[in-house]
């Protein structure tokens, strides 16, 4: 259905992005050890799409988010709305991408009121907006004066399910769910085209988390933005997202439509993840398989498949790093369902 996509329909393109750091070893003359965090990651997020990124801790999910936000250096290209961060100044770039993080309390300034926090992006971007955009926004909502900004912030609070009385409150007076709503509001203030939600509901209770998930969907119906949703919880990612990429030790091991990933996983790691989810409905892949990837532990071989050391199916052919290629599921090529496994099991 999305065959005739043009390049311009891609909000975010990540091409061959790698990132590494050096770990200091004990002893003054020992060599520093190179740790590859992201290894040649490529993906794209389309306009108006919710894209899910799943992986265990240490798989490089948040590093990728920080690369997209241009917070850390990386190799490769990341384009937002067709241009890289270098090709434009920082302010217009940050106007396009905003993030919601896991812990809202550490994301909010404890000494500023909620109102101040919400109006801050407007103040910062007032000058940076292109003249045409500024006119459009001014005509539409009016962001010129302090009073207009205040009204906009109140409107945003209502959008995220709070009300104007929160303007004068401080972060510590709010509950975790309310704080996360404020963070989402602050991220949406200047109408970014891409929102990065990095474990945005992981620290919340289930009932509050579901309120936030509903909020994302409600806002998405009214406003036009794409989202890169990062989580370790495959159930939540499947529920919310249209497409999913599974990350393992800095490699994308599988990428495709949410339905394909959840019901017809191709990579052994995705299968392991799915079978490990405690789920009382027992639906999807886990319901009709007795797949358990437990108990396998091999020596890590440099240059081998990234999952070689835990894969229950690994053979000698896995000693060479496989490429991402269409999975052995029906219609994989057309749907863009790719898996990084040389065995290509069905």
């Amino acid at each position: 259905m999305e065959q005739n996509l043009k390049k311009s329909d891609e909000i975010l393109t990540v091409e061959h992005v790698s990132n590494h750091y050096y770990e200091n070893q004990l002893g003054i003359f020992s060599k520093r050890k190179k740790v590859q965090v992201l290894d040649d990651v490529s993906l794209s997020v389309r306009r108006d799409e919710f894209f899910g990124l799943v992986g265990e801790s240490g798989s490089g999910k948040s590093t990728l988010a920080n690369c997209v936000l241009n917070l850390i250096p990386f190799d490769g290209t990341i384009r937002v709305n067709g241009r890289t961060a270098k090709e434009r100044d920082r302010k217009t770039f940050t106007g396009d991408v905003h993030a919601v993080f896991q812990d809202p309390l550490s994301a909010l300034n404890p000494r500023k009121t909620i109102g101040f926090t919400l109006m801050q992006p407007l103040r910062a971007h007032r000058e940076a907006m292109s003249a045409a955009h500024r006119e459009a926004v001014r005509a539409d909502q009016g962001t010129g004066t302090e009073k207009e900004m205040y009204e906009m912030a109140v409107r945003m609070l209502e959008t995220v399910g709070l009300d104007g009385s929160y303007m004068t409150r401080y972060p510590h007076e709010l509950s975790g769910g309310q704080r996360q709503r404020v963070c989402i509001g602050a991220a949406l203030m200047i109408e970014p085209t891409l929102i990065i939600a990095d474990e945005a509901i992981s620290a919340l209770d289930v009932s509050v988390g579901s309120q936030i998930l509903n909020l994302f969907q409600e806002i998405h119906r009214e406003k036009d933005f794409a989202m890169l949703f990062i989580s370790h919880n495959l159930n939540v990612v499947y529920y919310l997202c249209d497409r999913i990429a599974v990350l393992y030790r800095g490699n994308i091991v599988e990428i495709g439509d949410a339905e394909d990933i959840y019901h017809r996983p191709a990579h052994p790691y995705t299968r392991l993840l799915l079978s490990a989810i405690p789920d009382f409905a027992q639906e999807g892949y886990a319901a009709h398989t007795d797949y358990t990837g437990e108990g396998v532990q091999r020596e890590d071989v440099p240059g081998a498949c990234c999952f070689y050391h835990r894969c229950p199916h690994a053979t000698d052919v896995c000693l060479h790093k496989p490429q991402l290629r269409p999975a052995a599921t029906p219609g994989a090529k057309e749907n863009g369902h790719l898996s990084r496994c040389i065995l290509n099991m069905t």
Binding site: V206, S207, S210, N233, A258, L272, F280, Q297
Partner: protein, 334 residues
């Protein structure tokens, strides 16, 4: 089935200056020997405070204000401190959510795991070492010798939690209390640790009290479940009853707010609002302000204790019997 632990009318108060607020409000439950009992609820519902006060581990200003806790027939709350110490180290063990904060970063794993044996028994160093290595192998650590000589920071989160389990198990306790032991772990590691807890329960007959906010985890592991809300028990019963046919609107709300496949594309049903803070619990039924089927009587009378048709299924709610047939004579005024 005999009960290894019986909690009768336990209340816990938190002192703030001169005022005392009730965190846990006269709850009753029992732990059968050899079962895995789950306690589930949102944060702030009093799950952790309940078990910590049973063990006498609550901090300054948080104290039991009434009730009894019988461990094998003896009241833990009325016991002298020295007597209690013996039971706590030996018969009841606890593991916490964050293993790193329970391990001494300066001592090697082997030393820490073997410490109780060094203090309480007259075993030689070799015997202790052998026993510790056996325990480390028991918790499925791949390379016990190497772990024995490691420091906590050299281990991964899952390995640390296994070490904690080994420490808890060194005295072969009768009750193992797990306070959200897998919340900080990855799903694959979580599955392995849950499997391990189940193995211990089956192999050594250890009773387990498992606290979690995740109903899916509870469902996978536990035989029986207690649902707590705002310091009270909302519902308790067998796991399949609670998950399959919940009687309390709070449990129904909790289950409905977990995203499952079927709901893709539809909004999740969620419980509005949040758990009231301890200073703000006025309604007789604490769930009334968030409840979808709340009526006038919920705001005026304490919810009755209703015994449901299914075995061991008890619900504290005025409307519990909606859609279910009441047991003749099963309804008791509270």
């Amino acid at each position: 089935m005999n009960n290894i632990l019986e909690v009768r009318g336990l209340s816990v108060g938190i002192r703030d200056g001169k005022k005392t607020y009730g965190v846990v409000d006269s709850i009753d439950f029992e732990v059968h020997s050899g079962e895995i009992l789950g306690i589930v609820g949102e944060s702030g519902c009093g799950k952790t405070v309940t078990v910590l006060s049973i063990l006498g581990l609550t901090g300054e200003g948080v104290n039991p204000t009434g009730g009894q806790v019988f461990f094998e027939g003896r009241d833990l709350l009325a016991m002298r401190e020295e007597e209690k110490q013996k039971i706590l180290g030996d018969e009841i063990s606890i593991i916490y959510q964050e293993p790193m904060s329970s391990l001494n970063p300066l001592l090697k794993i082997g030393r820490q795991v073997g410490e109780p044996l060094r203090i309480h028994t007259k075993k030689t160093d070799e015997e202790i070492r052998a026993q510790v290595l056996r325990l480390l192998a028991d918790v499925d650590l791949k390379n016990p010798e190497k772990v024995y000589d490691s420091y906590p920071h050299e281990l991964s989160g899952g390995m640390r939690q296994r070490v904690m389990l080994a420490m808890a198990g060194i005295s072969a306790p009768k009750i193992l209390v797990c306070d959200e032991p897998t919340t900080a772990l990855d799903v694959t590691t979580q599955a392995e640790v849950l499997e391990l807890i189940r193995k211990w329960n089956r192999q050594f007959g250890t009773s387990v009290i498992f606290i979690s906010h995740d109903l899916a985890v509870i469902n996978k592991l536990c035989d029986r479940v207690i649902v707590m809300y705002a310091g009270k028990i909302a519902e308790c019963g067998k796991t399949e009853t609670i998950i399959g046919r919940p009687g309390h609107p709070y449990t129904q709300g909790l289950i409905a707010s977990i995203p499952t496949m079927r709901q893709k594309g539809q909004p999740l049903s969620c419980i509005p609002g949040r758990v009231p803070s301890v200073t703000d619990r006025k309604d007789p039924c604490p769930f009334a302000p968030r409840c979808g089927i709340c009526t006038e009587e919920c705001r005026q009378q304490v919810p009755p204790h209703i015994t449901m048709p299914e075995e061991g299924h008890e619900v504290y709610c005025h409307h519990a019997l909606r859609g279910a047939d009441p047991v003749p004579g099963g309804e008791q005024g509270a």
